[in-house]
Symmetry: C2
Subunit: 82 residues, 2 copies
């Protein structure tokens, strides 16, 4: 079985209002050293596969079809044998 | 300057309706090998500090005060010099 750790972030050129709001809130809380924040999503998906190539194919397909919006987001993933 | 990569996940004992919904949706899309999904948040925070200890102190404090809800969530982070 594999555990896929998937990160979905807005593309660098896309405005990130959630990140901007968090950065401002951190500033108001006294975290003066905070420069910028990007907010994204994180998924841990357990995949019942015995070979890594098939699991990786699954992960790529599910990111493209459901977990990310390829127009404005990018995804990265790591696969771990568990 | 440091880049903090922060993961916030619901504690394992806390019900994760978002993850359950995603797992069901993936099943309906034909991803039969998907066993379970946990959904969380991911933040990249740029911190203007020169020493790692202070940056780490900042990250812990901001996770506890704003980025996570310690009652139901846990956080992990990595610090990278950039």
């Amino acid at each position: 079985m594999f555990l896929a750790k998937i990160h979905v972030l807005l593309k660098p050129t896309v405005n990130d209002p959630q990140g901007l709001t968090i950065a401002r809130a951190l500033g108001r809380l006294g975290f003066d050293a905070v420069d910028a924040v990007r907010a994204g999503k994180y998924f841990e998906v357990q995949i019942q596969r015995s070979d890594e190539a098939t699991a990786e194919q699954d992960v790529k397909a599910m990111c493209e079809k459901l977990l990310s919006n390829p127009v404005i987001e990018t995804f990265t993933y790591e696969l771990e044998l568990v």
